[in-house]
């Protein structure tokens, strides 16, 4: 099974209702393409870290998609988004592999780190941020 995250940023001048209908359109495309929407998040209006097309805000929508067979219509969805002027940015990420790797990794990595940092563990945590400043001097 493959899982994906599809996030896109919509022009803030587009009304909330229109964002919903747009999202619905894309969701229909995804479901007809043989995948399911597992969940959906609407972040709403959010300040952009840098201006895009002279806009300082964007409306963020996030879709979680899963495909049992691996078949999906995400390339078509991306194609449509690219053509849509109202979409400032989009990003599709396949997440199943990374999440699976993350699920089994902790044991190996953790042992090495705790052996090294064992004696400083107690007072170490809160000082973490200060350490960055020392280095950046």
């Amino acid at each position: 099974m493959r899982t994906y995250e599809l996030m896109f940023v919509v022009d803030p001048r587009v009304s909330d209702e229109e964002v919903v209908t747009m999202t619905q359109d894309y969701k229909n495309m995804i479901t007809t393409g043989g995948a399911q929407i597992t969940s959906e998040e609407n972040w709403g209006r959010r300040k952009l870290a840098y201006p895009i097309d002279k806009l300082n805000e964007g409306k963020y929508v996030l879709l979680y998609v899963s495909s049992e067979t691996g078949k999906n219509s995400l390339p078509e969805v991306e194609h449509r988004m690219r053509q849509n002027d109202k979409i400032l940015r989009y990003l599709t990420v396949r997440t199943d592999e990374d999440l699976k790797r993350a699920a089994r990794r902790p044991v190996t990595v953790r042992t090495g780190a705790s052996a090294d940092g064992g004696n400083t563990d107690g007072g170490g945590e809160p000082e973490g941020e200060e350490e960055f400043n020392h280095g950046a001097r």
Binding site: L91, R101, P106, R110, G135
Partner: protein
Amino acid sequence: MARARKVFFRRRKVCKFCADKIDYIDYKDVKLLQQFIPERSKILPRRISGTCANHQRPLQQAIKRARHLALIPFTTD
């Protein structure tokens, strides 16, 4: 005296992700990523943050994804 000793003492840096057991670094977690982008919004190098190679790689990926979506800046001026 105490100050003089402090110069030689370097607290051992521990990879934040190993310590906190964060195994999937999410590009949406802006708060987390921001700890690794100092003033100029550059990605903090491992030698300073102490992040292990196994975690720096996905961290770098996550920061770049977040930048694309304008969640965090490429640069500040």
